[in-house]
Symmetry: D2
Subunit: 284 residues, 4 copies
């Protein structure tokens, strides 16, 4: 049964929950999910609400318009409306390491996620064989300082052609240009191999070893134009000891990276992430 | 500013959230907290809602009556209503080990919790000095097979006299009688030193050692008449290795026990636990 | 450079470390790893020691004999000797769920482990396509009550033919017969989807949901003839809430299962597990 | 039974373990603990070894001299020798928050640690009542910019008088001067309320909230002259969500801080920490 999913935020005022739930209920929608949160610092109200469209009195294609007219204006709301019969299209960018890619493709192939993966993009040929194992088109755009702008332009064109909605950087070892980031605002998901904000930038495991930390982490975040500083979706950590070499950290970190990235991607696919002022609200 | 806290559950039907939030809003209550959950297996709706009483049109002492008449009957609701200007009264039962008691009293003395501790009860004299350090009356009821019923009767009388609302068993090494449990339904909080349901009963660390587990845990739960089988409020675990002796498990476990118990007590004090069919809903 | 790996245990006595390290050192072996542990309950000494064979005065093929004669007899030792130029051969048994299989094969294909996987065995056809994606021979032995003994006999013959050293049950949903277990003592690794000893047997996520636990776990252990009671190699847990349905537990549990199983397999491949009286010593 | 504890490090060479264990064994010492580690990056060998002195042929007061002569010179070793019949003396420095102090004193009073606490030092009067509850002398040295050097000089004199071996900063909100740090090299233990190196300096919970992290942490480290940059002894983390306010972080963080600090203090008391080039080796 198709469901509508509404994510919204607006200045907090009394009565919003009552109004929105009432709107759905009187129009014979059955609410199957509601999660809300008030940021009392910024005084902003956030909500995610989901209801079954079977028997809903407002036609699917008019819901957005009605909601805009009746509530969004009144409460100065930002909102996004989704339907569960639409599968978002996700591009995966990789370089040479396969662990995150395998984890994404294993879930995809097993049918765990409501998503399409129309292509894999890389700056190296190394993982073409993985894409081929899973019968997904693989495009290689080798990148040098000289050709970067040109190659990214080609990538962007390809993404448009393939109808890509969001991008997952599965240990893609290139900095994404501002232009691409702005074309996919809060729709490029990266995995960084440290518990941010510790160890921003290159070689975080080497830095973690040098600093002598007792835990290492991984962080999945939306990409913004400031390096490794975008809104954090998910983090996790694992305990290490003085016995762990840099290679041990890399090896233990791989398991973290793939699980943390996949959890973040899942939250995104389920439309459970909302970004506000560089922080994420992750609905339950 | 005084707030009302309403916890309720009832068979799930469309419109409940809208009705309840509307009831509060039209009567000029400012909702500052709402968390709800639908158990789709049992088809039960659960909600915790909190609003400021300043300016609320219904007098504090009549809210319960109004809510009962207007909504509880209609939706076949069970509900409990609390006010934040009332501090619940908590008795602590201990035996010989001090770590949980110290943790509770340190928080209490630092003013972290909205609670009163009018007494500490024990079956041994060992921890009287701790009670004295914190200036809390200490009552010792030595218990033998022969005098158990009699001593518990005296304890119950003392608890009534002191106006105790709920009991915390802080490593109290006696099984509580059915009669006492039934006098405090879902109001006796125990800490069991294993990740239940593993290692029910006596000497769980010895059992954990013998089984060769790689993690140990602690579980805080409401006491029911079936031993170590009541609704779980909070659990946590810590990693161990083959090098840990039984004494190491006991030592590492102590930290778990005290933190897990205190987290559970805090949730109870904040009225964020609701029990339904031997499972807890822990509101956010 | 080839290294020797020696795992041993014996009744604890003064001087064993000195003797064994001296034996290696005077024969010009360079010790690159030593981990030892004394079980003071059983009074047993355990050690894992690793040294480079380059320049070692005793020929590789005679080390076992020398060590047996000079030390094992004297100290009543059990020991196993391995060399790093030998890759063990591992069979993977699966049923219908792919997550653990993909995780094993992704690591294998990426060259993370010093192991060969000459075959995958299943009682169902469902995962043949996964085996084919990774170019690994797949053998299907459908099992019924009637043909179980016969099919297992064929499996055992196939394992012998393929020179299999150890077996990984990657969510293989059949109980292994005593005969097969005894042919591979402490060499069949299972993943059970609970934090054992809680929720032994079938449907542990359903049982965990019913019990209302706040954490779920996964346990990898060597298979013994008592169901889910073999020596534990690795466990891990993840936090859940009352909001998680049984399906959520299954989904969150999958990530645990695959990581816990792969960690256990890695420890086994690295010869870092030693079993003594149903407990594992996991060397660092 | 009194035991000797030897911690050492030196350039790695073949034969060191054999020589040292042999030295103890031939002199009739019974080794009850051995943990060693080789840093293959720096090529340094580290060892902690513990043996019973009962029947040991070398008199207790001459062991250091013998070991220096026979081995330390030969292998260019740094070593420290301790005996278990000596209790180190620990000063606790606090400001206004009591949670870490209570945790330390509860363990101390329960006899969990082989340590003496001859005094508590503070720059405020707030926690005098806690010291008094536990009958420990409390000294208040109010600190201003003007009197800082003078007050610290008085503190140092008091510490010398009381025979203090090491200092625990239990949320002491003053930067320690270089002079005091140099008087207690790797013997001042601090608790910082973040997972270092993230959020160095003041108000880390505010910074963590602003960055929108999904985990917060606490770090215990030896104090060096560079702020929050000393060798890390222990860290731990706890998961948070967007719902947690700065006050929630502070509250959840308190539990982390006290446990992490107490674990670090325990490792120090047990002489299981060795510092090398700003990293700690934490023996098992």
């Amino acid at each position: 049964m198709v469901r509508a999913q509404l994510l919204l935020h607006c200045p907090d005022k009394p009565g919003i929950i009552a109004q929105v739930t009432n709107f759905i209920t009187v129009n014979k929608g059955n609410i199957v999910y509601l999660d809300q949160y008030v940021d009392h610092v910024e005084n902003i109200f956030f909500m995610r609400i989901e209801w079954e469209l079977d028997g809903f009195l407002i036609p699917k294609e008019k819901i957005e318009d009605y909601f805009q007219t009746l509530y969004a204006q009144k409460y100065d709301m930002s909102f996004r409306l989704y339907f569960t019969d639409y599968k978002p299209r996700m591009a995966v960018f990789v370089s040479k390491m396969s662990h995150c890619l395998y984890d994404l493709l294993a879930r995809y192939t097993a049918g765990e996620w409501e998503v399409e993966i129309p292509l894999i993009v890389s700056n190296h040929e190394d993982l073409r064989h993985v894409a081929e194992r899973f019968d997904i088109p693989f495009y290689c755009f080798p990148i040098t300082k000289e050709n970067k702008a040109e190659q990214e332009a080609k990538e962007m064109e390809l993404l448009r052609e393939k109808g890509v909605n969001f991008i997952v950087l599965a240990r893609y070892m290139q900095v994404i240009s501002e232009q691409m980031i702005e074309s996919y605002p809060n729709r490029i998901i990266n995995i960084h191999h440290s518990f941010l904000p510790a160890f921003v930038g290159a070689k975080p495991y080497h830095a973690a070893y040098a600093r002598g930390v007792k835990i290492i982490g991984a962080t999945s975040h939306y990409v913004t134009t400031e390096l490794d500083a975008g809104p954090i979706i998910e983090q996790d950590v694992v305990r290490i000891t003085h016995k762990d070499t840099v290679n041990d950290l890399i090896s233990k970190g791989k398991d973290l990276e793939k699980i943390v990235l996949s959890r973040a991607v899942q939250k995104h696919i389920e439309r459970k992430c909302l970004v506000y002022k560089n922080r994420t609200i992750i609905f339950s």
